[in-house]
């Protein structure tokens, strides 16, 4: 132990401190309960936000942490949605098992495609994920007998949650259900980020050339995280199908893949709460703007995106973190 000077913390204590829950996180999750009391008319929107946040969280694992760009992430969202919808149509509308089946299917397809994904980077990767997304969209479009094609899936019927809670018109059950699932998955993602594997993902993002030189099997890591992200995206899609009792081709669309990238970049990629904050801002703004002038929605979101990328390259959360750091160093 040559030099301990200037080192405030033992390494293990430092790592513990990194993973510790902060007060602001607790406050955030408590605040997610507010809509139940303050905005009971917005619970349907709130549940959609929770689902979108979950979808963005899954993208954050691959894009934000491992640096794997995907423009076709809706493939897994859509797979989850259609799976949950279709099994309910064929007579099994139990939500929790539906969620499980949907996530397994999305995960299986994610695992299979991860073998291709892990071999490529940069532009090639964008094209491949884009291509796979379009492929699946078109497949769902033409499999009219199974998916209902462009008409959407008809006859989705979801049973009561836990046999007790009906999916009501106001969205009480929908929001409670989505929020609980989001929170549980978030706990898993949070653990993952602070694990050795989470560190390896950041290593891949920071320098994929160095990884093999320290003995790291990057491709196998990428396959794992891609599969996990597919599972989570599948859960998010299944939640949407179950809480809205509809599935349309939109769940597999390029628009949904692109939106979730926008959401994550707005909020701050590579930050646990980036996708969550991004989803809140994006969905609330869309709800407000589309009430006024729906055609202009993409004009505003486009402007916002450009402004964020120019002025807050690490997203809104990154900007806030920098601000907080500056404030702390001044005091």
């Amino acid at each position: 132990m040559a030099d301990m000077t200037g080192t405030a913390l033992a390494p293990q204590l430092y790592l513990q401190a990194q993973a510790r829950w902060r007060a602001i996180e607790v406050a955030f999750w408590l605040a997610t309960l507010l809509p139940f009391v303050l905005l009971p008319n917005y619970l349907v929107l709130a549940s959609q936000i929770a689902i979108t946040a979950l979808f963005a969280l899954s993208l954050d694992l691959i894009l934000g942490y491992a640096g794997i760009v995907s423009l076709g992430h809706a493939a897994f969202f859509g797979l989850g949605a259609y799976t949950a919808g279709i099994i309910s149509k064929f007579g099994w509308g139990e939500p929790l098992s539906g969620l499980l089946v949907a996530s397994i299917l999305a995960g299986t397809v994610g695992y299979a495609s991860s073998f291709i994904i892990a071999r490529f980077r940069h532009l090639a990767l964008i094209m491949i994920t884009l291509g796979l997304g379009l492929l699946l969209h078109e497949a769902a479009n033409s499999a009219h007998w199974l998916t209902g094609g462009a008409d959407g899936l008809q006859g989705v019927k979801i049973w009561r949650l836990l046999g007790r809670f009906n999916f009501d018109l106001w969205g009480y059950t929908a929001y409670a259900y989505s929020l609980i699932v989001l929170f549980l998955v978030f706990l898993v993602a949070r653990r993952l980020i602070h694990s050795p594997f989470g560190l390896a993902l950041r290593g891949i993002r920071e320098n994929s050339v160095r990884m093999p030189a320290i003995g790291a099997p990057s491709r196998s890591h990428i396959r794992t995280v891609y599969t996990i992200a597919a599972v989570i995206a599948g859960v998010a899609g299944a939640l949407l199908a179950q809480t809205t009792e509809t599935v349309s081709l939109e769940v597999l669309s390029f628009g949904r893949s692109a939106d979730v990238v926008v959401i994550l970049i707005l909020g701050g990629a590579g930050r646990l709460y980036g996708g969550l904050i991004g989803a809140i801002i994006y969905m609330v703004a869309r709800d407000q703007f589309s009430g006024i002038n729906p055609q202009f929605w993409y004009f505003w979101i486009g402007s916002l995106l450009v402004a964020v990328v120019i002025f807050l390259p690490n997203g809104i959360l990154g900007g806030l973190a920098a601000l907080a750091a500056r404030w702390r160093s001044r005091s």
Partner: protein, 251 residues
């Protein structure tokens, strides 16, 4: 002499019409400190790239001990103890020094794919990382992000990452490149002080350092090994003098 820990047989490589390796034959016995020298563009880095699996040779074989590793993936070679550092810093800019080294140790111990357990639970790994960093006087800056470290500290982190893999053979590509003279001697003292179980081949342009720290010197010119020998033999060799006197401007 004992059987070599690392050897190559007839390695060839060209980039288009540019021949960067021609019939390279190396043999490193256990525990030696060999230097690889040669003018810019001689093919030294490419040779390391081939040995570590980052560049595929056009012909020839590479052996680690008895085993032919010519077709092994780079990470598999690292797992077997064949490790390199980079001439140009190839680090993880946004990770701090402790995280970078801890990651390497987690990979070595096969726990880096564990996603359900917190990193803080890996105390041995964290302590070992800190110890390696301290031994290279990086202990006091180990929580600073790599991009914020001074250049010389980043060079040391290069070595720290390599050491964290517990190498048997260490290939150092100009470890002191860009480091001021007084610091580079210190850096080489650290290298010379490594365990005698580690076999070291280093590339270096500074002849003072080469003659001080190498027991044997391999001279490469234009993709070929011109000559190899003890420092005395190399110093006296007229061909080496010709190469180095004809080529001003490095060292």
């Amino acid at each position: 002499m004992s059987a070599p820990v690392l050897s190559t047989r007839g390695l060839d490589k060209s980039f288009g019409s540019l021949v960067v390796a021609k019939n390279i034959e190396l043999a490193l016995p256990k525990g030696v400190r060999y230097a690889l020298i040669g003018p810019n563009g001689a093919g030294k880095t490419t040779l390391i790239n081939m040995i570590t699996g980052m560049v595929r040779p056009n012909a020839g074989q590479i052996f680690l001990g008895e085993d032919d590793i010519t077709r092994l993936e780079p990470e598999a070679r690292v797992k077997r103890g064949l490790v390199r550092t980079y001439q140009i810093n190839t680090l993880f800019p946004d990770l701090n020094a402790l995280e970078s080294v801890a990651l390497t140790i987690c990979e070595r111990r096969g726990v880096a794919a564990t996603w359900w357990r917190g990193l803080a639970g890996y105390r041995e790994e964290a302590d070992e990382a800190f110890e390696i960093l301290s031994s290279l006087s990086l202990g006091s800056v180990c929580y600073r992000r790599t991009r914020e470290l001074a250049y010389g500290q980043q060079r040391l982190l290069e070595i720290a990452l390599a050491l964290a893999t517990r190498p048997k053979v260490l290939l150092l590509d100009e470890p002191a490149a860009g480091v001021p003279k007084d610091e580079s001697a210190e850096l080489f003292r650290a290298i010379a002080g490594l365990s005698q179980d580690i076999t070291v081949l280093f590339i270096e342009h500074d002849m003072n350092l080469v003659f001080r720290f190498a027991s044997r010197i391999i001279v490469m010119v234009g993709g070929r090994i011109l000559v190899a020998g003890t420092p005395e033999e190399i110093a006296a060799d007229p061909r080496v003098r010709e190469v180095y006197l004809g080529e001003a401007g490095h060292g």
